[in-house]
């Protein structure tokens, strides 16, 4: 039983994603998009988790890697015959070449990783909180360049005509790859070292762990996975603007991670799916949705109010999130459960009232 635990920690999130995809495939075309969005959100949130969850350093900049991934994959897959017409200002290299959509996902991951590595070198030298705030600089630069520089993208207009190749199957495969990479990382020597620095940076340094280097590896891996998630995202939407991968997405994905539980892979997946579900319902409600006899018709903006309230409530009342920041495990047999409950009550007693 014990020996199975690590594999359950991988299998549970994977199964949850696959189940979501299967349920989604039985629904109508109009609701399928919600399942697709939910699965892609899992990929983005797990990518953020790889850095934020393992290092304990908050980052507001991971969405910039989603953004570069999305735009790299998007720009490189716009069909060649229409590209010269809609994106005339691109660098010739970008303008005159087009790649397949699977290779565009790989490209998105590589671009995300390289970008994350380069900005990680200065940022990871900062101490925790300062590093988190400084990542805003990355988000701002990325957004500004994607929005204004027409040599690398569509500028302030919408990047359209991207092939919509992310269906439920491909979204699920991509997301499972992201989850597996995150799992492999957190069980590796690097992942364990980084988690040690999260718990006690001084002690980790004392046993010879280079905090900055470990954070840089995680930042780079997180950038690669975020880039891949961005590639899935743009191929799901078919069109994208720089504003779609900016502050609101940062907020929503961070909310997902925090609500699920920041320190576990399971928390990232559960949070992403739970909040996506709620989010889909609220978006429907903003259009007006019938529940039984009553019709719920929320005003515009109510979605973010609800999400913000929920996130603040979870943080104030249960800062470790829905999963308590723990990995998935089966309920223990009775005898063990007593011990577990005992441990839980001890922990509850330690918590400030």
């Amino acid at each position: 039983m014990r020996r199975l635990d690590p594999w359950l920690q991988l299998a549970a999130p994977v199964l949850l994603v696959v189940a979501t995809a299967i349920v989604g495939s039985f629904t109508a075309r109009a609701t399928e998009i919600y399942f697709l969005t939910a699965i892609t959100s899992v990929a983005i949130v797990v990518a953020i988790y790889v850095f934020v969850g393992n290092s304990g350093v908050l980052s507001f900049g991971q969405i910039s890697f989603v953004a570069v991934g999305a735009f790299a994959a998007g720009v490189m897959t716009v069909p060649l015959d229409s590209k010269q017409g809609v994106l005339p200002d691109l660098f010739p290299l970008l303008r005159d070449h087009t790649i397949g959509d699977v290779s565009s996902l790989a490209l998105a991951a590589v671009v995300g990783a390289v970008f994350a590595f380069l900005v990680g070198i200065p940022l990871m030298r900062l101490s925790g909180l300062a590093a988190g705030i400084a990542t805003f600089a990355v988000l701002e630069i990325t957004h500004n360049l994607l929005r204004e520089w027409t040599k690398i993208g569509p500028g302030a207009t919408t990047l359209a005509l991207v092939p919509e190749t992310t269906d439920l199957t491909r979204a699920a495969i991509g997301t499972v790859v992201v989850i597996a990479a995150a799992f492999a990382y957190q069980r590796s020597r690097f992942g364990r070292s980084l988690r040690a620095t999260r718990e006690d940076a001084a002690a980790a340094q004392a046993v010879g762990i280079d905090v900055h280097r470990q954070r840089l590896w995680a930042f780079t891996l997180s950038g690669a996975l975020a880039g891949l998630a961005g590639g899935l995202y743009v191929h799901m939407l078919g069109s994208i603007t720089a504003d779609q991968v900016y502050l609101e997405l940062t907020f929503v994905t961070l909310a997902m991670l925090v609500i699920g539980g920041i320190t576990s892979l399971w928390g990232a997946v559960v949070g992403a799916l739970a909040v996506s579900g709620l989010d889909s319902f609220l978006s429907e409600a903003e259009q007006g949705v019938g529940v039984g006899a009553a019709t719920i018709d929320l005003p515009q903006g109510a979605r973010l109010v609800t999400l913000g309230t929920l996130m603040a409530l979870v943080l104030v009342l249960r800062p470790s999130g829905l999963t308590g920041g723990r990995e998935f495990r089966l309920p223990r047999p009775p005898r063990r459960r007593v011990a577990a409950a005992d441990g839980a009550s001890k922990e509850a007693a330690r918590e400030p009232v």
Binding site: G128, G301, A302, P319
Partner: protein
């Protein structure tokens, strides 16, 4: 400095505008730094306090209130909102890690912004004009330079507020207690410093500054929208880190520096390149952090053990 070709090419006009911008950012940096000092909490929702003040100015102006009453109301709203935020959010979170506190204020920021959107779109337009304070935006000519009145007001307000704050922190009992709390809260409490009083004072001072900033920013940008002051808050937060978040004065200098640099770079960039202003400014930030990771104005090198 005059030997620098970049600065030499700039006219005095740009420098005046840059100082005005720097003054506003320095005020915001003080507001954020004061609360950080006692609570170790980076208040991301600081911009939304300013936004709430700006909406108060806009709505009172539309309701035909006299300007002084609108400004007074702005102070009342910001101070009350800040007090509520402290009681409902900051206090339960005091024992949490700085990261949790930062995400929470991030959530509060988005919450307040969405609430503002709900209130704002009732008339089917986004953005409310605040006409009553706009007269301060007129320019007057001083020694051949076009100086907007609000620039002078901003510099004066910043200078007065910072001087008063310096006096308060160095010459009064509560100021001493606040400095003690900022250095080591646990020990300060052992020595009889009342935590709630110190924190309430810091939050109050920070709110007064936020209200002043919301008047200054509304004068410069009279169309108030839900994302009012959001950009400024992000820039100031980054500036505070660049200056050195551990001490109030380095944080304030960081705020001023990033405002001043933004103004100067804006003047130095060719007109068709000014859209890239944020990239240039933030690239400079990353460069500074690469050279001085513990802050531009911080003492010594990097600390071996990080605080958070």
């Amino acid at each position: 400095m005059s030997g620098n070709p970049l600065l030499g090419a700039l006219d005095a006009q740009t420098l005046v505008d840059a100082v005005g911008l720097g003054a506003v950012y320095a005020l915001m940096a003080v507001g954020i730094g004061l609360v950080f000092g006692v609570l170790r909490l980076v208040n991301f929702a600081y911009g939304q306090l300013i936004m709430a003040g700006a909406y108060t100015l806009a709505f009172t102006s539309q309701a035909g209130w006299p300007t002084w009453a609108g400004i007074a109301m702005c102070f009342v709203v910001v101070i009350v909102l800040s007090g509520v935020m402290d009681r409902l959010v900051f206090r339960p979170l005091r024992t949490q890690s700085p990261a949790v506190m930062l995400v929470t204020t991030f959530a509060i920021a988005f919450l307040l912004q969405s609430v503002a959107l709900l209130v704002d779109v009732r008339d089917d337009t986004i953005g409310e004009p605040a006409a009553s304070v706009a007269s301060l935006n007129q320019a007057i000519t001083v020694w051949g330079l076009e100086v907007r009145k609000v620039t002078i007001v901003a510099v004066v307000v910043a200078a007065v507020a910072l001087s008063l704050l310096a006096l308060l922190l160095t010459r009064t009992r509560i100021g001493l207690q606040m400095r003690a709390a900022a250095t080591d809260f646990a020990t300060a409490r052992l020595l009889g410093v009342r935590a709630n009083t110190v924190i309430a004072t810091a939050v109050l001072l920070s709110a007064v500054i936020a209200a002043a900033v919301s008047v200054l920013l509304t004068v410069q940008n009279p169309l108030v929208a839900p994302d009012f002051a959001l950009k400024e808050t992000i820039i100031v937060l980054v500036g505070v880190v660049v200056g050195g978040i551990d001490r109030l004065w380095t944080a304030t200098l960081g705020g001023f520096a990033i405002g001043f640099a933004t103004g100067v770079i804006n003047g130095a960039l060719p007109t068709d390149k000014t859209v890239f202003l944020p990239s240039v400014v933030f690239a400079l930030v990353i460069l500074v952090l690469l050279i001085r990771p513990s802050g531009l104005f911080a003492r010594g090198g990097t600390s071996l053990v990080e605080r958070v």
